[in-house]
Structures are given as structure tokens and as C-alpha cells.
């Protein structure tokens, strides 16, 4: 098990904000010194573009930037050339939808997904529905947002050409049986595209073992910098897929008649100057997480969550929506208090949580409430912080929520 107090020393924000209880890790995560150093070293010591310069500093950045693919390949157990850098998980998910729409799907083909998805894994598909006439169908979820294999088998059929789901959903934290789903979907010849934004930072992922075709995630949710996403794709599929963006670096040559020869993946998908310092920072973040051990991180978070849930269950004024899930954020409301009022009150006690529908706007059709408070943990959170949060939750009321304005 990890030594959380030692880990916290790696995060300068805990020295600068000693009273902050940061439970909004589903939104973004705090940054360790090694990541901050990796990014600032780019500005302080070795600024340049990549893939364009013949001078020493440019060579340093080429090595760091392209070398990050090997680090991510180790994180995911994939090939280096299967790692595409994008600008966030949303960009990765849009690339998958665009690419499938352009090169893989035809009108009437079905995309199978769920109502627990984040907007970024639904709206790109809604656009395909409108522009290409593909159809969207939903796998029924249980009340805590989980896909059972029984429900999956019932909804899967020959017309389904792609299954697009979050590995861990961003509101309820349901861990979906991605490996079983991929195996079943592949039997029907369907592709499997997974949103890993809430799983890759928190658990050991092996894309070969899961046998997913695409996996999208963000650096900033795994202690890395903002503005960097990753798209993993099986190489043969990346070869077949058209990039969303056209521009510099990704082309090999083009003629005035309009003929264009693109470079091979992954560079084909990285038009324009990338977020170089961000990718270098992602490398530091991925190495940092692997040093601690993703299995250790996962086990610690699971234990901390169950401590949190047990204490929250004892509060009469709190309704929890995902108590039976073993993983992910704690999603709740204080009875009779609108989620944003509750989050505002918690903020007055220095506790950072998220309120609202968390970009999963059709999930209310499953859990029966429009908006919730989401407390999402990471491996640097402590039992003491949980205690502070639970104490503050006990005091959430309409009166106290209004009281913060006076």
C-alpha cells in the first residue's frame, strides 16, 4: 500500500493551499513537482518546435516528445506507433467518431452506447446520426449505471458496427466489463471504442488484454498538464482512418492539383504544432504513476472510497446514488438541497466538489435525479480529508447554503 503522506510531499499545492480538501479529481487532478518541472524545463531550458529543427535543442524535444510514445505504450501495453497525441480526450473521441463515420460506417449502421456517457462520447455520435444517417442504440443500465453482460447480449445484434462506452463512467463510477464486451462485440464484427478518461488514471490498463480497438484519455486527469489527450488505436485501424485535422507535419507531400500524401500514423493525426511541453509533462506524469504503481493506486482509492461511503451512509440528510459500486466517485445529494447549493456550502468549508449533471445529461433518465454532488478521490487524498468532508456534509442544509452569502 502507498504512503499517502509521503506522496503529498510531491504536490506543492498542498503546501500552498494547506486547508484545501480537493475532491474534484474527476474534473482534473493536481500536479506533482516532477510534472511541473518537466513543463517548466521546456520553457526554461529547451524551447523549440518538434520535427522541424536541425539544432541541438530541437533534437532534445524530438527525443522527449516522440519518446513519450514509448512511455505511454508501456502504460497501456501497446505499440509506440499506436499512440496518438491529441488536445484532450474530447479530441480523441471526436477523431474516432469522425474516422469511423468517414471510413468505416454506412447509413443505417448502428452505434451501441449507454445513457451514462459523458457528452464528449455522445455528441460526436449524434452528429454522425445527423450527417451520415447512422443509428444510435443504448444498452440498458442497472440503477447504479452498470452494464451487465446479459443486458449487453440482449441489445447486441448484427447491425451494430461499433460499441462506444466509457470504461469507468464519470458520474457513478461504474466499472464496465470492457474485456467481455469487446470479446462479444468482436464476435459480431463490431469495433469497440472506449472512453478511458476516468479509468486510465486510476487502474492498470492493458489494451491487448482488453482487446479494445480505440481508447481515449486526457493527461490532466492523471496528474499531467492540460491540453493533451491520447488516442490509442490498433495500428491497422489508424492506417485506415482519416484525420480530423489537416495541416503541417502530418503530410508527406502535396501538389497544387490537390493531391496529398499523408504521413503514417500516429503523426498523420497530429496536424500543426502539438502541445509539446504538455506531452513532455504527460511523460513525467505517466512515469510518476507507474513508479507508484497503478495497482497500488487502485487498491488505495478503493479502500478510501469504501471508508468514505460507510461514513456517508450514516448521515440521515444524505442520499447516495452509487453506494453499491465499489469504485469511482461518491455521488450524492443532501435531501431537499439543490446540488449547487450543497457544493457552495462545502466550498465554504474548503471542500472542492463538483455539482450538476457532470456533462452526462441523459443519465437522469437512469438515476432519476437531474443533478448531484460528486466527490471524486485520487491517491493523494486521505482519511482525514474524508472525515472533514463527511462532517461538512452533515451540516448541509438550505439555511447553511444561503448562509454563505452573509
Amino acid at each position: 500500500m502507498i504512503d499517502v503522506y509521503k506522496i503529498r510531499e510531491d504536490f506543492p499545492i498542498f503546501r500552498n493551499q494547506p486547508d484545501l480538501v480537493y475532491f474534484d479529481n474527476g474534473a482534473t487532478t493536481l500536479k506533482p513537482q516532477c510534472v511541473i518541472d518537466a513543463v517548466s524545463d521546456f520553457y526554461l531550458r529547451h524551447t523549440s518546435n518538434v520535427h522541424r529543427g536541425d539544432y541541438p535543442v530541437a533534437a532534445v524535444n524530438d527525443r522527449l516528445y516522440d519518446g513519450t510514445r514509448a512511455v505511454i505504450a508501456r502504460l497501456l501495453n501497446c505499440g509506440e506507433k499506436e499512440v496518438v497525441f491529441t488536445h484532450n480526450a474530447t479530441a480523441s473521441l471526436n477523431q474516432v467518431a469522425y474516422g469511423l463515420g468517414k471510413n468505416f460506417l454506412k447509413p443505417g449502421d448502428v452505434i451501441l452506447t449507454t445513457q451514462a456517457e459523458h457528452a464528449s462520447n455522445l455528441l460526436p455520435w449524434y452528429r454522425l446520426q445527423k450527417d451520415y444517417g447512422i443509428k444510435i442504440e443504448y444498452i440498458p443500465l442497472d440503477k447504479e449505471g452498470n452494464i451487465t453482460m446479459e443486458a449487453f447480449e440482449k441489445t447486441m445484434h448484427k447491425g451494430v458496427k461499433a460499441v462506444v462506452i466509457a470504461h469507468v463512467t464519470n458520474v457513478l463510477g461504474s466499472v464496465q466489463p470492457v474485456k467481455e464486451i469487446a470479446a462479444a462485440a468482436h464476435r459480431y464484427g463490431a469495433l469497440v471504442a472506449v472512453d478511458g478518461a476516468q479509468s486510465v488514471p486510476h487502474m492498470k490498463i492493458d489494451v491487448k488484454d482488453l482487446d479494445v480497438d480505440f481508447l481515449s484519455f486526457s493527461a490532466h486527469k492523471m496528474c499531467g498538464p492540460g491540453g493533451v489527450g491520447v488516442l490509442y488505436g490498433k495500428y491497422s485501424l489508424l492506417e485506415k482512418m482519416e484525420p480530423v485535422f489537416m495541416g503541417g507535419d502530418m503530410n508527406a507531400r502535396f501538389e497544387s492539383c490537390g493531391s496529398v500524401i499523408l504521413k503514417n500514423p500516429p503523426v498523420k493525426f497530429e496536424a500543426g504544432t502539438p502541445n509539446i511541453e504538455g506531452v513532455i509533462g504527460l511523460r513525467a506524469a505517466a512515469e510518476y504513476l507507474m513508479d507508484i504503481g497503478l495497482d497500488n493506486i487502485h487498491a488505495y482509492e478503493k479502500q478510501l472510497r469504501s471508508y468514505f461511503i460507510e461514513k456517508m451512509k450514516k448521515l440521515d440528510n444524505i442520499e447516495i446514488y452509487n453506494a453499491d459500486n465499489v469504485y469511482g466517485p461518491v455521488d450524492f445529494n443532501a435531501k431537499g438541497v439543490f446540488s449547487q447549493d450543497a457544493a457552495g456550502y462545502l466550498a465554504s468549508r474548503n471542500i472542492a466538489v463538483r455539482s450538476g449533471n457532470h456533462c452526462a445529461k441523459i443519465l437522469h433518465e437512469v438515476i432519476g435525479t437531474d443533478s448531484t454532488v460528486r466527490a471524486s478521490l485520487y491517491f493523494y487524498n486521505t482519511k482525514e480529508e474524508v472525515d472533514l468532508c463527511v462532517e461538512a456534509c452533515r451540516d448541509i442544509s438550505v439555511e447553511n447554503a444561503i448562509g454563505i452569502f452573509f
Binding site: 446540488s339 449547487q340 447549493d341 438550505v398 452569502f405 452573509f406
Partner: protein, 152 residues
Amino acid sequence: MNEKMSMLNDPAVLREVIMDHYQYPRNHELTKEEGYRSVHMASDSCIDDITVQSKITGDIVEDIRFDGVACTIATASTSIMTELLIGKTKEEADLIIAEYFRMIDHQDYDADLLDEAVAMQNVYKQANRIKCATIGWNAMKQMLEESERQDV
């Protein structure tokens, strides 16, 4: 300053005003009657979702109604707005709205003009809640502007 206004200096009273308008929002029912303008405020924020209706006849704001799902501040501020502006002339309503936005923007304002709306005086301290305190007011402002354009 009248007696009511001096009471409205007391934080405990202001808290009570918000509480009361949140628990018992005034004019909190939409109508299907003809002659109402309607604005659905759903694009500014993904959490508060309210609809405001108003009946503006000639120069007079005859009626305002609202409904929707929203936090204490959004609900109470909209409820207070309806009470304050019903029966006013368009010109008076414009003035009160302008004064309200001055207060929310933490500038000097005329408390007498704002009456119970002064309960929102500290919202500027929580920048993320300014949207909540102005959602209903913005809807009304929009409808007054529309009616102005159509009158010309």
C-alpha cells in the same frame, strides 16, 4: 430610509428573504394564456434551467411568471424580480434591472429602488454564482428589449 429598508440592512432578515422566496417562490407557475412572451434560460448554464414569461401591455409590465429547476439563489432572485417588476412601467423596470446589475457587479446602487432584491448584495463574492443571481433578471431584460424593438 423607511423602516422596511432599515430592516433590509440586517443579514438575518436578508437570509430569511432568500429562504422565503426559495421555499415559497412567487408567481411560480407558467401560463398558456395568450399575450405572454417566454424565454427559456437554458443556454447560459447547464445546471439552472428556468423559463420566464411576461405580459407586457403597452407601457406596463402586467405579469411575470417563472418555473424550472434551479438553486436557492436562482430561484429566490427570480421570484423577487417578479414581485418587484409586476405593475411597473417598462421604463421603471429598466431602471430597476440596471440598478440590480450594478449591485451584482459590486458598484454603488440605490437600495431603495431594489427593495428585497438587496438580499443578493453579496453574491458578487461568489463569482460562480453570479449566473444564478442574474438568470431570471436577464430573461426579463431580454423580453423588455424585445418588446421595445417591436413597439418601434
